[in-house]
Amino acid sequence: MSNDIITLTVPAKPEYVMVARLTSAAFASRLGFDIDQIEDIKMSVAEAIILVLNQVVRPMELLIRFENLNEEIHIDISGQGEWVESNVSVQDIDQAQLSRYILGSMMDNVEFKTDNGIMRAVCMHKGCGGSN
């Protein structure tokens, strides 16, 4: 299959994380990932978004870019638009560690793009014959 790109933008609100999850699942399923891999990809997209949302500042919008490249799905999640103050709790900060464990285990590779301690984007990929 050729090198195809899908992009999705959603308001940076908890209620739309589900939309990003389902779009990921649909694309991954078209690329031939199996059910367990699709679950991993869906969940990783959600966790990456949670990391970008649950910070002292958060973006107004999220851009999610999917690409199939060399039998791998590449996913970039980035905050877009204005970044505004958010009322993050200690719990959110503790929870970030859970997100990182999940991403590290479910994707083949994950990179965090930070700037002054703020996570601006998460770039990750997973292969069809992937490790998990």
Binding site: E47, A96, Y101
Partner: protein
């Protein structure tokens, strides 16, 4: 809305709670509030039946941890039952299988 069916059994001082559907960043705050209210009402042990739980993210796990903290304050326990294998996997990845008592669903 979080689908949550609960029943308090006074003989065993235990909340039997069934968590159904998907728990994510959108509905986790509501779940947290409801669990904390139940714990206030009857500070007992908790059995979570997850037979129909199809998804839980880190914010949902955070809610369970937060409930566990409250329950531990009075030496209570939280038992998680009938986890689907791919959800159990998430507890293992995050190390939470060590802090909760977990019984995995038979396949």
């Amino acid at each position: 809305m979080v689908v949550l069916k609960e029943k308090f059994k006074s003989e065993t001082n235990t909340w039997c709670i069934s968590l159904d559907g998907e728990i994510d960043i959108y509905n986790a705050p509501e779940l947290k509030e409801r669990l904390h209210k139940l714990i206030e009402q009857h500070p007992g042990n908790i059995i979570l039946n997850c037979e129909n739980l199809t998804y839980i993210d880190s914010t949902g796990l955070g809610v369970l941890i937060s409930a566990l903290r409250r329950v531990k304050e009075y030496d209570g326990q939280i038992t998680i039952k009938n986890l689907k294998p791919y959800i159990h996997k998430i507890f293992v990845i995050t190390g939470l299988d060590k802090i909760f008592t977990i019984e995995v669903q038979e396949v």
